[in-house]
């Protein structure tokens, strides 16, 4: 293992490695100038982690980029951003490239695009080292392997020769981190470092970052929207709103005793995962084989015909060696008036399952019943009629609405498909009614989708899904592209309308807290299988399988004290598992 570096020598600026003083950033765009950041003053001390939180558009990423001197060409920075004694604002390119990668380095959100796809990862790390130090290629390569070991990549000698596409998303992010720490920077800027990753991987990456920061005394500026990540990792927090910092303080103060109104609102909108008290008390010895609980049978009692039912569905994409088994024998049913949550990590098959339920993907084996009719046996015309009873809301608020149509046309489309006899006026009044229901003003009907915000667009999608009065709503990650406050509003609307209209809802999400809050029953998916299903209140509090337990343990909760306990417990469980394996 490499030598542990002593904490960085105190920087000249009052011991701060990063000092922002009245930082402002203005973007000049085609439609005018935008003040993205106003009067931001912050500092990061060596060995300290400062989290910069805020919703999209709050300017948090811009602050991070300004601190690296990486602002886009149409941006102009004012004020001071001092890194280790050098003012970044107004520094020339030579000074900046001397600093970057050496004194300050950055971890980006998307590991897939942060690495050169055509260069072996070991070489990419060695290149970063040789950019700043006169070392031989062989030494740099050896150091790269050492770094890979340090960031927890197994068999680093072999992995150094791998191309990025041969690594998983989590491993790629580890490589990016290895590059970032290659020259032992005094400041690490991490812009949403775990947002593109699954929760279990996120937990590992956060553990890694925390360990590295503690070992080397590196100051960390963490940019994130996820309050759980903040609680897990940060020492201090700065909350940004509309380009300005509205509140700073220790993580306990800000997250548990917020003083600014905006922070309070933001925190109250964060969906919280309730955790079982028994497990929280450290009682990890709860019998793992508690199959006798039988929570799965509780939800199956209803006699009503399910709105949609998947029976033993398998889906295989491709054939032969390249065949991908997206689903393997999945069964579940959604009954009228209830919400079934479909959770799982990326690649678990939850989206494929929802597309099978919609009839967009035909099952390779097994059957799908929509409103009591087997989809494989109905004729095309009958199938189309059945689909009039289905509403769909998909994840991407931009791609969900045709940019060439007005909002009104988008919402009216199902009417044009299924109720062709309606007059223009009748259609217009129905569209107006449904817009009222999703709490959008009727005037938006004449506007273009791009004029609306993400949350408004998702409500337009919802209006379109509801305009025919569906019996089944399929929502595939309907809020995961939205900010928490907007997410709360959208979920509220869906919940209220479901109560009022009584449709069944298949709710796909990767966010366990949202599902816990929103769904009555839940199916936990893993690698194409339904790992576990049952009432949400039972399954997500007292999971039966190890996988669900691990998944739940990895979700960071936005309470630093509780999260600290959860983390210790998770690490203890992991360690126990490891010694068991060895033994």
């Amino acid at each position: 293992m490499s030598a542990v570096r002593p904490p960085a020598a105190p920087a000249p600026d009052g011991g701060h490695i990063l000092d922002l003083d009245d930082l402002g950033v203005v973007f000049t765009t085609e439609t005018g100038t935008v003040r993205a950041v106003r009067g931001v003053s912050l500092h990061v001390a060596p060995g300290e982690t400062l989290a910069l939180v805020g919703e999209s558009g709050s300017g948090k990423s811009t602050v991070a980029l300004a601190a690296m001197g990486l602002l886009a060409g149409n941006a102009r920075a004012t004020g001071r951003a001092v890194v280790d004694g050098t003012d970044i604002v107004g520094a020339d390119e030579e000074q900046l490239s001397g600093l970057r990668g050496k004194t300050v380095s950055m971890v980006f959100q998307e590991p897939a695009t942060a690495l050169d796809p055509l260069t072996r990862v070991g070489r990419q790390i060695a290149e970063v080292i040789r950019n700043h130090r006169r070392v031989s290629a062989a030494d740099a390569a050896a150091r790269a392997v050492e770094l890979l070991r340090r960031v927890g990549i197994p068999e680093p000698e072999q992995r150094a020769r791998a191309y990025p596409f041969q690594l998983s998303g989590g491993q790629r992010q580890r490589v990016v981190i290895a590059m970032a720490i290659a020259n032992e920077p005094a400041l690490l800027i991490a812009d949403e470092p775990t947002t593109a990753l699954d929760v279990t991987v996120q937990a590992e990456i956060l553990d890694l970052l925390r360990r590295l920061a503690a070992e080397t005394g590196t100051g960390v500026l963490l940019v994130t929207h996820n309050m759980g990540v903040v609680a897990d990792f940060a020492d201090r927090v700065a909350v940004m709103y509309q380009g300005a910092v509205v509140e700073t303080g220790s993580v306990e103060d800000v997250l548990l005793r917020p003083s600014h109104d905006y922070t309070k609102r933001l925190l109250s909108a964060v969906p919280r995962l309730s955790v079982s008290e028994a497990a929280g008390g450290g009682d990890t010895a709860e019998p793992a084989g508690a199959g006798s609980v039988g929570a799965g049978s509780v939800g199956a009692g209803s006699a009503e015909e399910p709105a949609v039912e998947l029976t033993d569905v398998s889906v295989v994409f491709g054939r032969g060696k390249q065949a991908v088994h997206a689903l393997r024998g999945v069964s579940f049913a959604v009954r009228p008036g209830e919400t079934l949550g479909l959770v799982g990590e990326s690649g678990s098959g939850k989206s494929t399952a929802s597309r099978v339920a919609l009839g967009l993907v035909a099952p390779t084996a097994g059957s799908v019943t929509l409103f009591g009719a087997d989809l494989a046996r109905t004729r095309a015309r009958a199938r189309r009629a059945l689909r009039a009873g289905v509403g769909v809301v998909l994840q991407d608020p931009v791609a969900s609405l045709d940019p060439r149509m007005t909002v009104g046309e988008c919402v009216a489309e199902p009417l044009r498909v299924h109720r062709r006899t309606l007059s223009g006026r009748e259609r217009e009044s129905l569209v107006g009614d449904v817009l009222d229901r999703v709490r959008l003003p009727r005037e938006v009907a004449r506007r273009a989708p791009r004029e609306l915000s993400g949350g408004q667009r998702q409500r337009v999608s919802l209006a379109r899904a509801l305009v025919l009065g569906p019996r089944l709503l399929v929502a595939d990650e309907p809020t995961s592209a939205l900010d928490v406050s907007v997410q709360e509003a959208v979920l509220e609307v869906i919940g209220e309308l479901q109560e009022e209209l009584g449709f069944a809802c298949l709710f796909v999400s990767h966010d366990l807290a949202v599902v816990q809050q929103f769904a009555r029953r839940v199916v936990v998916m893993r690698a194409g299988r339904a790992e576990e299903q049952g009432l949400t209140s039972a399954t997500l509090l007292h999971p039966e399988t190890d996988y669900t337990r691990r998944l739940l343990a990895a979700v960071p909760v936005p309470d630093p004290i509780v999260q600290r306990g959860r983390r210790a417990e998770r690490l203890a469980t992991l360690a126990a598992g490891r010694t068991e394996e060895q033994g």
Binding site: R35, H225, A388, V390, P403, V417, V474
Partner: protein, 297 residues
């Protein structure tokens, strides 16, 4: 959600709202060459269609008493081998060139769009077969087909448009197919399909309107190509037949007098072809800038 894209979400929205068309116009106007190109095209359209009203000449009778005269006050660009006023002939021939070029370019784009959209939307083996047809077509030189066909049939004006259209739809069909492939998997099309909307609606209401910018840009380049192709065949004497003519034909007859120093029979039609073809290409470039919806959505 983070990074730079999120910046423009709340702040820029209101202004962006009303002025999408205006923004496209502004982008087009910022491309100087495109604006010049537009000016050149407008000039030639006026020149060819309005010009004859102001500068009337006899383009039907052979006037042997005024053959191959050099430019003068009476004939601004001189006269050709059969005594037609060259400036008037430039207008007269330009009319043919522009009409044939425009119609053939539009025809090619329409065929290509339908073919490409059908192939891309159908997918699977239908797509494979349809695109192999396109590949095969592209493998045969267009000029070669054009020459063979016009040598066999000696086509009239509409025949020429038809032939040109039928051989130059291949490239636009590829562009539209690529566009269709991405559009058919967009969420709004999936949503329509999942709730029972038909294929016809998906194509006519969503896919074609959203590929219109690609189609228009492709059309501009097609028009330029078609004008050039007409000039080729006419130059080789297989296109527009006398007494009618076009710029290629004028160039061809002028070349016979090249060694006599009658530059006024060669330079003006040559320049006209170069300018118009360049202008349409420049407009295409400008439109591509203006329409580029990628990244804006």
């Amino acid at each position: 959600m983070s990074s730079l894209t999120s910046l423009d979400t709340p702040a820029v929205q209101p202004e962006l709202a009303a002025s999408n068309t205006r923004l496209a116009v502004r982008r087009f106007l910022r491309n100087r060459l495109a604006v010049v190109g537009l000016g050149v095209v407008v000039f030639f359209v006026l020149f060819c269609f309005v010009g004859p009203l102001l500068y009337s000449t006899d383009q039907t009778h052979t006037l042997l008493q005024q053959v191959n005269e050099s430019p003068s006050g009476a004939h601004w660009l001189g006269t050709d081998a059969v005594g037609h006023d060259e400036l008037g002939r430039l207008m007269y021939g330009g009319k043919v060139s522009l009409i044939v070029g425009l119609s053939a370019g539009v025809l090619a784009t329409v065929i290509g769009t339908l073919w490409g959209a059908a192939a891309g939307y159908a997918g699977g083996w239908i797509d494979a077969v349809m695109m192999r047809v396109v590949d095969a077509g592209i493998a045969i030189p267009a000029l070669f087909i054009l020459l063979v066909v016009s040598a066999i049939t000696t086509p009239d004006l509409s025949g020429l448009v038809l032939i040109l259209g039928l051989i130059s739809w291949l490239v636009p069909s590829r562009l539209v197919r690529a566009e269709t492939l991405t559009l058919k998997n967009r969420d709004f099309v999936l949503t329509l399909r999942a709730t029972g909307g038909g294929h016809a609606r998906a194509i006519t209401r969503h896919i074609l309107p959203n590929s219109v910018s690609t189609v228009i840009v492709a059309a501009t380049f097609q028009i330029a190509d078609a004008i050039l192709l007409v000039a080729y065949v006419s130059y080789l004497g297989l296109g527009v037949q006398p007494p009618s003519t076009d710029w290629g034909g004028m160039l061809s007859s002028g070349m016979t007098a090249a060694y006599s120093g009658y530059w006024w029979l060669i330079v003006p039609p040559g320049l006209a072809i170069i300018l118009v073809v360049w202008a349409f290409n420049a407009i295409g470039d400008g439109l591509r800038d203006a329409f580029d919806v990628r990244g804006r959505a």
